[in-house]
C-alpha cells in the first residue's frame, strides 16, 4: 500500500507535508497535556503494534499472501488520534531505518492510511448498534483499507499531469488514474475483505478482555 520514495513530485509532497503537518498538530494537541506515565508507553507500544501488524501475512485466495494494513484494528482499539500518530511514527521509522515507504511519501501515506483509514473505521464504529455491531465493524475495516488505497492510487495517478517534460514524458509516477486505480484498488478489495474477517476475530477477543470502550 505504501508509496515508495521518488514517485511523488516535490510540489505535491511539500504541499502534503503542510496538510498532514496540520493533522499531526491536531492529533498531538490533546495528548500534549496528557504526556504522562500512561500516554508515553501507550503510544510507544501502539507504534510497535502498528509496525508488527504489518508483518502478519494474510492468506489470499489462490495461495498467495498479502499483509495486514492494521489501521482499522488500531482505530478500533485506540481511537483516531493515537492510531494516526502511531501509524505516522511507524512510517517514519520504516522510511529511515528500513527503506520502506520513504520520507517524500510519508505525508501522503500517513494522511491516507493513518488518518483517513482510522477516521473511516471510527465513523463506522460510531454507527454500529449494540445488537449487531459486526456488519459495521466489517464494513468499517473493509472501507478503512479500500478508501486509503483509492486515495493513494489517485495521488499516484495525478503525478504524470503534475510533473512531466515538454514532450509529455513523466518525471515521477508514470501512469494516470486509469491504470493506477485498478492496479492498486483490486488487490486491496481482497485484502480489505480478509482483513475485515480478521478484525472481527480480534474484536471478539478484545471484547472478552474488556479492552474496548
Amino acid at each position: 500500500m505504501h508509496i515508495p520514495d521518488g514517485f511523488i513530485a516535490p510540489q505535491f509532497y511539500l504541499s502534503a507535508y503542510v496538510v498532514t503537518g496540520g493533522a499531526w498538530l491536531w492529533a498531538a494537541r490533546g495528548l500534549k497535556q496528557r504526556l504522562d506515565e500512561e500516554i508515553i508507553p501507550r503510544l510507544a507500544v501502539i507504534t510497535a503494534l502498528a509496525y508488527v501488524i504489518g508483518m502478519v501475512m494474510l492468506p489470499l485466495p489462490g495461495g498467495s499472501t498479502g499483509h495486514l494494513v492494521g489501521i482499522a484494528m488500531l482505530a478500533m482499539l485506540f481511537g483516531v488520534r493515537l492510531a494516526f500518530l502511531a501509524y505516522s511514527l511507524v512510517l517514519l521509522l520504516q522510511a529511515l531505518l528500513f527503506g520502506a515507504g520513504g520520507i517524500t511519501a510519508l505525508p501522503v501515506n500517513a494522511f491516507a492510511v493513518g488518518l483517513v483509514g482510522a477516521a473511516v473505521m471510527t465513523l463506522c464504529m460510531g454507527l454500529r448498534g449494540e445488537r449487531n455491531p459486526l456488519p459495521f465493524l466489517a464494513a468499517g475495516t473493509f472501507l478503512a483499507v479500500v478508501i486509503p488505497a483509492l486515495l493513494i492510487a489517485l495521488v499516484l495517478g495525478i503525478q504524470p499531469a503534475i510533473a512531466h517534460r515538454d514532450d509529455g514524458t513523466p518525471l515521477f509516477f508514470p501512469f494516470g488514474p486509469e491504470v493506477a486505480v485498478p492496479a492498486i484498488l483490486l488487490p486491496h478489495l481482497i485484502i480489505g475483505g480478509v482483513e475485515a474477517l480478521l478484525t472481527l476475530a480480534v474484536w471478539r477477543y478484545a471484547k472478552t478482555r474488556g479492552w474496548l470502550a
Partner: protein, 183 residues
Amino acid sequence: MRDLGWILLYLLTVVGVTLIHQPLYLLIGLVVVILFSGSLRWRLLRKALLSMLLFNTAVSLGYLIIALLRDEFRVEYLILINVRVLLLVMLGFWLSARINFANALRFSPTLTFLTTLAAGQIRLMSRIINDYRAAFESRCLKRPSWRDRSRLAVVQTEAVVEQSHHAATEIGQAMRSRGVFND
C-alpha cells in the same frame, strides 16, 4: 546537535534530488553517496536494491509494456526513475547508518523516550510474530490450508495485541518507579 544537523542536511538533499530531472546528475549523486558510505557501501547498496526491487520492477515493467503499446517509450524515463529511487533509498540508509537517532532526538526527552520504547517493543513483537510463524511452519508437513493460515493470522494478531497491552502497563510502572515523571 551534530546528528540533528545530519538529519536536516538529509532532508534538504532529498528535496534537492527530487528537483533534479537529469539522470546523469542523479547518477553522479549516487556515485558520491556510494563513495562516502565507506566500508558499509556494498551492504547498503545491496539493502537499497532489495528494498526497491518489488515496486520499481512492477512500475518499470508496467511502463515498458504500456509505453511500447502507446509508442511513447523513453528509456531515459526508466533510468531517471530507477536511479532517483535508488539514490533516495541509499541516502536514507546512509543516514541511518551514520547517525544515532536517540542522539538526534535529544532536544526532546519525550520524543527520545517514545522512539526508544517503540524501537524496543518493535524488536520484541517482531520476535513474537517470527516465533509463531516458525512454530507453524515446523508443524506443517504439507502446504497449510487457507483455514489454517487464517487461524495463524488471528492468533498472531491476538498475541501481539495482548503483548502490547501488558507492555504498556509494565513500561509505565517501570518508568514511574524510576522517577521518570517526577520533574
